[in-house]
Symmetry: C2
Amino acid sequence: MKISTRTRYGMRAILEIALAYKAGPLQIKVIAERQNISNKYLEQLIAIIKSAGLVRSMRGPHGGYVLAKSPEDIKLSEIFRVLEGPVFTVECVENKEACASFADCITRRLWIEVNDAILNVLTNKTLQDLVEMAEKEKLNYQI
Amino acid sequence: MKISTRTRYGMRAILEIALAYKAGPLQIKVIAERQNISNKYLEQLIAIIKSAGLVRSMRGPHGGYVLAKSPEDIKLSEIFRVLEGPVFTVECVENKEACASFADCITRRLWIEVNDAILNVLTNKTLQDLVEMAEKEKLNYQI
DNA sequence: TAAAATACTACTAAAACCATAGGAATATAG
DNA sequence: CTATATTCCTATGGTTTTAGTAGTATTTTA
């Protein structure tokens, strides 16, 4: 099971935007350069994030992106969901037919448990947590 | 993030084999029918499981598959890993270059944390746990 | 020796993934 | 009001993964 580059890039991008929260709009080309990601690809990823209402944009010179709300109000699970899609779909949750067999029912419970474990990590953290980690880390490097 | 049908089918299949642990070899066609999975596709999935040494096979009439060790000695993480591949690869773990940026380092830690949460569920359960759940469930249905 | 099972290998259609590309729209500065 | 800097939109393409299908070979049992 892999996490897509879409999600990895997207998460890094929004963290960069969060780190610039007080400094004003951050431009795609800046993020792209820092992260060594294709400008055009990043555009699309940020479009996804924007359509979810997590960032706002400003066009024209000195434009760029800013967080739509403060970092502590953005759960990592929101970001993840938007980029990676709903965590763990298990078929028979949607089509409410009874399970075909016991093995089916039982494994389904397992997947739900795994699902919950993932969500537990992601819903209990916000962008602010990452920002603080990043800033602490930065200090260490500067010493 | 989705779990592949390969893993879902495979997990159900080995659970069926585990449920038949004391009854003797279980045949592909039986599993395929119970689970409504293509015979030929299931063959391949079980081949994967077999090549990992989790089940043994017997050819010819009355052949089939049996667990290679007892259910409490097979961790679900083993099964998962074989079917789904290594849980969550994060690039810069392998190619030991320094992270390109702080955002990179920080998000990487996040993924590792998610990874550990998944593994924590799967390494702390064995097939025996699923077998017991299935048997308990079966009783409920019979009442 | 026939039948029942697994074992092996090749092929394929569809989807997802990871971009690349070009031009339209909009805001700012001078 | 014009040039420039930026986001916005949409189309396209190559590669890989997924989820199978198919055919034949091999082994075991009765």
